[in-house]
Symmetry: C2
Subunit: 375 residues, 2 copies
């Protein structure tokens, strides 16, 4: 049977494995934690560090293909495996571009893909030279993840808040909407686009409140978004699945924020709401089957289940009963035994023909559910 | 975490585990074959014989709940576990009724549930006394499975074809349609009915050709079917999920054929076609959550992928590419490495608003796919 390895064993790996069980594929997972979300749903679990050259090389050697569920992996090992005939999704060259925020940003600029104005700096002292970019967001070239490695600089006076490192200084966009566009690319570089989704943020908590699919945007903006996402993957020249995150600014200009070269949080709704989910699509791509149907069966909303502030330790969910009493709400818990503030513990997808019903139920779910640690 | 054991590790177990990954549950599977379809998707796999008293008892002791994916399990061990506080779905008493075809048939008769006329016999010589039941189907009380243990007796002259054992001699029904009704029962014995499905048989091969959901029947027949299925589970007095198989005869009378006290082949379409699948429903019942929505999202057809005659050994699928090129066809392979004639290797569900489109695509899928053994 065709042997495929996944680097990383988090919830994205878990959902990849739920979908893999439908296909003729032998699954292998590499992750440091042998009780991670993906550990018990694969054929072979190997405990090891996905950032270590030898570990990744030995894991991948002898497999037919590899994919990732997180970018922060050993790219050198993937390059060697690729040169030795193992198919890697996405190509390691794409990971090189994306992993470094300076390189990623320059990639967009070089290929005429609209993105916020920026400068590349190496110390906080340089911020003063780029006053025209302020207020700005400074992002570390490497090592940032999940909100870390990002700093807002409002004025020159605040420049000492900045990182004294190789980074991107990017003009802050006045955001009207945040959009994500999932796009699948097969081995012949044929593409299939999911309808873009809209992220609704809670400004008080500065976190995703819920996500609505499809995004409520004009046809003209839809075309622009599809054109940008298509240009990104055309220039990557790699099969795989990609989540392109975009801003619509107050002038209705579209600017690319960043791209994830893998299944993504913004595509979770596709499990129930679309004919072919983002996870299903990955197996079609890797196994060389035709791309699936990206159309929506019904409109949907998605709510993340996030570890609450002030709670660390063995997780307890309260309100699952009320949540599961809501018609057409689909629960996905990720099997993490410990909660931490901000940790993604699961998500809920809601299907409905009516947008107001989706929003109403998304709020009901957030009210129903409490995530706390065992006292 | 709540610990649930599944007796049996076939495809029904596999699909139960795909659904379990969304819920807060620790899964355990007992099966003799450590490369069975469910072996690699559970938290703990235990190799052992589900028909052996000690094996089942030791497997179940220490778990919070048990369920089955096949009836042929050690009921005595389940009864002891039940008496010691382990929740068992369905109750072992229901397994006793269903496992023995004589007892099952008498159960329907006692509770006024319409079923074909029958006699209980102990030898083939008794067939002559029941000439009024011929042509008839003779079914062994115990030990029959998947077509074995069933013999058609057309005339008295054929009585020597009959089994010389404890069995049911049942008047052969002139079948217009075969229907399956899945019904879920929660801990408070509240029920939820899926729309009945219709099985379309290939008369030449004497096997299921495809299945259509919802069944094409009048509202009056629908009510009768729902009433019969409800009466069956009301008399079982057990939580769980049940598949009630029924005949509609040429006079539009409805007769119960048999009941499976578990997830069932006739409910596979519910994974994609219904808001809550039969597999999702099992976890809701066991974990004490509200029953899910049994409504269809879209009409569907389901085609089984069956091992071809003349092929035994390592399986090779041909035509998966063509199959997966059909819009809205969902493949489910069960991970069985060896094919055998008649073995269930997988299934395909098709979604469409149009019945003709469903039938067209079901036929296209059957033509596209070849299942053979490696030569």
């Amino acid at each position: 049977m065709f042997k495929v390895g996944i680097l990383g064993g988090g919830q994205l790996g878990r959902m990849l494995l739920q979908a893999a069980a439908n296909y003729p594929v032998e699954t292998h997972v590499l992750e440091n934690d042998d009780d991670c979300p993906a550990a018990h749903l694969c054929r072979y679990f190997i405990k090891g560090n996905i950032r270590d050259y030898d570990t990744v090389y030995h894991f991948g050697k002898g497999l037919d293909a590899l994919t990732i569920e997180i970018e922060n992996v050993n790219i050198e090992a993937l390059e060697r495996l690729e040169s030795e005939g193992v198919m890697v999704y996405p190509k390691p060259g794409v990971l090189r571009i994306i992993k470094n925020k300076v390189v990623q940003k320059q990639f967009y600029a070089e290929h005429g893909i609209p993105t916020a104005a920026f400068a590349v700096i190496h110390s906080r002292n340089e911020i003063g030279q780029f006053a025209h970019l302020l207020p700005a967001v400074q992002k570390l070239a490497e090592g940032g993840y999940d909100g870390r490695g990002v700093q807002v600089i409002e004025t020159i006076a605040e420049k000492n808040l900045g990182f004294d490192e190789h980074s991107v200084l990017e003009k802050k966009v006045r955001i009207k909407k945040e959009i994500a566009q999932i796009i699948a690319v097969d081995k012949n570089l044929k593409t299939a686009l999911y309808p873009p989704v809209e992220m609704v943020f809670n400004k008080d908590l500065n976190q995703l409140d819920y996500q609505i699919s499809p995004a409520d945007i004009s046809e003209k903006l839809l075309w622009k978004i599809e054109a940008i996402a298509s240009a990104v993957v055309r220039n990557f020249q790699s099969p795989g699945i990609f989540a392109v995150e975009l801003f619509i600014d107050e002038q209705d200009e579209i600017l690319i924020n960043e791209t994830a070269p893998r299944v993504h949080n913004s595509g979770h709704h596709s499990i129930e709401a679309h004919f072919s989910s983002q996870f299903d699509m990955v197996w079609r791509i890797i196994l060389g089957f035709p791309l699936g149907n990206t159309k929506a069966i019904l409109p949907s909303a998605m709510v993340n289940i996030i570890g609450s502030e002030g709670h660390s330790g063995p997780v307890v969910y309260e309100g699952l009963d009320a949540l599961l009493g809501i018609d057409n709400a689909f629960l996905h818990l990720y099997g993490k035994s410990e909660t931490r503030p901000g940790r993604k513990m699961g998500h809920v997808t809601i299907l409905s023909t009516e947008k107001q019903d989706l929003i109403h139920k998304a709020n009901k779910i957030k009210q129903a559910l409490t995530i706390r640690s065992r006292s």
